[in-house]
């Protein structure tokens, strides 16, 4: 198996190509089978690979062929496999397989069934290439590949203009980050002469000292790419809008895998970031700021998917925080557990939306606990993990992050406290969601509970979200070991208790209504603050006024082609002369004659001057 890891991304790619070419001629069952089975085989192969890796801890480096060779620049189509890659591959293929299975029921009625699975398979292939790439250029290929698939899937129901707009927004906003990242790659290549990640990190450590400016610039550019892809401040605005896509897509791309690509990228190039402590601080600050901002915003949202979207942004903020404080393995661990419970939540919301005829507003749901038991328990477990209640998977990963953040000198306690506030908010908004949707009075009547193809993935993910915290992710070889010291016990106790407080608050406010916040919410300050949070801190508004409208203004200005005006002037001059000359063409004989005589006079003058000089 270890000789042929390239098969793993190849299978979904082949399936995708087949679906694109022959999708319209296949039966629905065959399409679904092809789409699910291809990812399933990849998942199985990954499992085999994982078992092998657990036994021999062998890093695999596999080069297929040289992609291109120009003046010493020879990136290969080559794969690199270690513990980090294994974690990412497991998440992608495992969660991906479950989501594919879920999709077969969710998308059953959709006329573009084949197109959907073609995109989804292609996404899995691109994402696998991204995490398996041995050099940054191949990684960039996968990076752009998932971007394209994200664009295609967000705009999957392109018949509605808003969906197309959301897709474009997702594509363009991430493109800003990608451009910066491409610049970072170019900088790294010109400075180090290679883009092979391992060789590059080695060369960087030999060339630069800690705190040099070039690695700082390179890291900042890479951060830009990661921030765009992972929807962190200030490029996060595309993710809530990207919820326009089908819900399983949101689960796979915008929760479990693609949006965590930025985290993976930073973790993969951590050797560089260790050379630039400032860049790491930037990562941590971006992470915690995003986390808090998104958590506050999630508190106020009413659309179930937008709540989850902001929660995703917030959780990725935690991962960034982990990376920023050097808790690499904790960050990746949180990435994995987050993939489990967030996919679970998204699929659960997908099930609700599916059974409630595309109802997104949580206040129009309510009382679903008894009628959709599978979904209810999925949501309970998912929310518990999201809120990091003890013994759930989210608890272990988030706890690690917060503890390691606390140990950071100078900034540490501050980051820890902000992280705690975020955790409190997370607990409140996740259980607000649960209480509003599943308890209280029923507002709508669902058709039925989910079918088995939805129930199985939900159950498996429930299981994973519960026990995911006990997994030992094999990344010890990849990252530098932490010093192993533990902060004081009270820090740990506080970290544990905060989500419980959040749960209590949510219970009091949204379940038994002992704690009435209506007065607070209706006061002027409360209202304006609520609206401010609802609008995502007005960042969309700000960007609209700061970038979009000036750009439209510029475009409108350029639409009238001011530069062409110069050439238009030449044209106008020519036309004027032409007009004059054609006016001279009056059709009147005597006018012609007079002109001829005038010309004759000039000619004779010239001739006399030139030949004889008589007139001089």
């Amino acid at each position: 198996m270890s000789e042929t890891i390239w098969v793993i991304p190849l299978i979904p790619l082949l399936s995708s190509v087949m679906l694109m070419l022959f999708g319209s001629r296949l039966k629905i069952t065959h399409i679904g089978f092809l789409g699910v089975a291809s990812v399933g085989i990849s998942a199985l192969l990954t499992l085999v690979l994982a078992v092998e890796f657990m036994q021999n801890q062998q890093i695999i480096q596999e080069s297929l062929w040289t992609w291109m060779e120009v003046a010493g620049f020879a990136p290969g189509i080559s794969f690199y496999f270690d513990g980090l890659t294994l974690v990412m591959m497991s998440v992608i293929t495992g969660v991906g397989f479950l989501i594919h299975l879920f999709s077969t029921e969710f998308m059953e009625k959709d006329p573009s069934y084949a197109r959907y699975f073609a995109y989804l398979n292609m996404f899995v292939a691109a994402m696998l290439v991204l995490v398996m790439a041995d050099n940054l250029l191949l990684l960039y290929l996968g990076w752009e590949g998932v971007g394209v698939c994200s664009y295609l899937l967000v705009g999957f129901w392109y018949q509605h203009n808003a969906n197309g707009q959301a897709a474009r927004k997702a594509f363009i906003v991430t493109r800003i980050g990608d451009t910066a990242m491409a610049l970072g790659l170019l900088l790294l290549f010109t400075e180090l002469g290679t883009l092979d990640i391992q060789a590059m990190v080695g060369a960087a450590n030999q060339t630069w000292q800690i705190g040099d400016s070039i690695p700082l610039i390179a890291c900042l550019l890479i951060i830009c790419g990661a921030v765009g892809k992972s929807a962190q401040l200030p490029l996060h605005t595309w993710l809530p809008d990207a919820m326009a896509g089908p819900t399983p897509v949101s689960a796979l791309i915008h929760a479990a895998t693609m949006v965590t690509a930025g985290v993976y990228l930073i973790a993969r190039t951590h050797g560089l970031f260790l050379l630039a402590p400032t860049a790491m601080t930037v990562v941590a600050v971006i992470g915690i700021a995003t986390s808090l901002m998104a958590a506050f915003t999630a508190l106020m949202q009413t659309d179930i998917k937008r709540i989850l979207a902001y929660s995703t942004i917030s959780q990725i903020g935690y991962m960034f925080l982990a990376l920023g404080v050097g808790a690499w393995s904790a960050g990746i661990f949180h990435l994995m557990t987050h993939a489990f419970f967030k996919a679970l939540l998204f699929l659960g919301s997908g099930a609700i939306i599916h059974c409630l005829h595309h109802e997104h507003n949580i206040f129009k749901m309510g009382g679903l606990r008894t009628r959709m038991p599978v979904t209810f328990w999925s949501f309970m477990i998912g929310s518990a993990a999201l809120a990091a209640l003890p013994m759930t998977s989210g608890f272990f990963s988030k706890d690690q992050i917060l503890l390691q953040a606390y140990q950071l000198p100078d900034l540490g306690p501050g980051l820890w406290m902000a992280g705690l506030l975020g955790a409190l908010l997370t607990a409140i908004y996740s259980f607000r969601l649960v209480f509003v949707v599943f308890f209280g009075e029923a507002n709508t009547e669902p058709d039925k509970d989910t079918g088995w193809r939805m129930a199985v993935p939900l159950s498996v993910l429930c299981f994973l979200a519960m026990i995911g915290g006990y997994f030992m992710i094999p990344v010890a070889e990849v990252f530098p070991a932490s010093d192993g010291s533990h902060p004081a016990h009270w820090v740990e106790y506080v970290s544990i208790s905060v989500p419980l407080v959040g749960l209590l608050v949510a219970y009091l406010v949204f379940f038994n209504r002992r704690l009435n916040i209506d007065g607070l919410a209706n006061s002027t300050v409360g209202k304006s603050l609520g609206n401010f949070w609802l609008s995502g801190w007005g960042i969309d508004w700000l960007y609209d006024h700061l970038f979009v409208r000036p750009y439209y203004g510029l475009a409108n200005l350029l639409k009238s082609e001011p530069v062409d005006g110069i050439y238009g002037l030449i044209v106008a001059l020519n036309q004027t002369f032409n007009h004059w000359l054609s006016a001279a063409q009056s059709g009147r004989m005597r006018w012609y004659l007079a002109s001829m005589v005038a010309g004759l006079i000039i000619l004779i003058t010239l001739a006399a001057n030139l030949s004889t000089g008589v007139l001089q």
Binding site: V597, I601, I604, T605, V614, L615
Partner: protein
């Protein structure tokens, strides 16, 4: 000396006759003045020793070509109305611009020929000499002239025939 006097008289007649021809309103009157002018030029030809040219000037120019004009004017049958029209067109305002142009050109020509010195040749050039050079070195020019005349013949026949035919057809259709 007599020749010189004759020359100036002939030149004066030619110029006056031409001016008159150009300013008449009636086409026939103008034509007669033009014939006078041509005859005067023929006299000049005779005086400067080109008798053959003088003869041709009278026979072909003043004779054949001018008769053509007369025929056409007769066919057109212009009458009094045409004369009035012509007089209206001959207002001084119309004269001014062309006159200035012509005077400028004339002055230029005069300046250019100003330094031409000497009298014309003592001996006359006889018709024989002209004939010899016509069918000697200039034979190609003669042939080209023949072709030109043929083309003029065909062209005028074509134009005139269509004129007549259409007239005929219109008459036929109106009946």
């Amino acid at each position: 000396m007599l020749e010189i006097v004759f020359f100036y008289i002939a030149a004066t007649v030619a110029l006056i006759a031409t001016v008159m021809a150009m300013t008449r309103a009636n086409a026939i009157h103008a034509l007669i003045y033009l014939i006078v002018s041509l005859l005067a030029v023929a006299v000049i030809f005779f005086l400067i020793g080109a008798p053959f040219a003088a003869a041709l000037e009278i026979v072909i120019y003043a004779g054949a070509i001018m008769v053509l004009f007369v025929f056409v004017i007769m066919m057109l049958n212009l009458g009094e109305k045409g004369d009035k029209q012509e007089r209206q067109w001959l207002k001084p305002g119309i004269w001014a611009g062309p006159a200035i142009l012509s005077v400028i050109l004339l002055v230029e020509l005069l300046i250019v020929i100003g330094d031409v010195k000497g009298p014309v040749s003592v001996s006359a050039v006889s018709a024989k000499e002209v004939g010899l050079s016509l069918f000697g070195p200039y034979v190609l020019a003669v042939e080209i002239a023949a072709m030109l005349l043929l083309a003029g013949l065909v062209g005028s026949f074509h134009l005139g025939r269509r004129y007549l035919e259409r007239d005929h057809i219109e008459k036929g259709s109106s009946q």
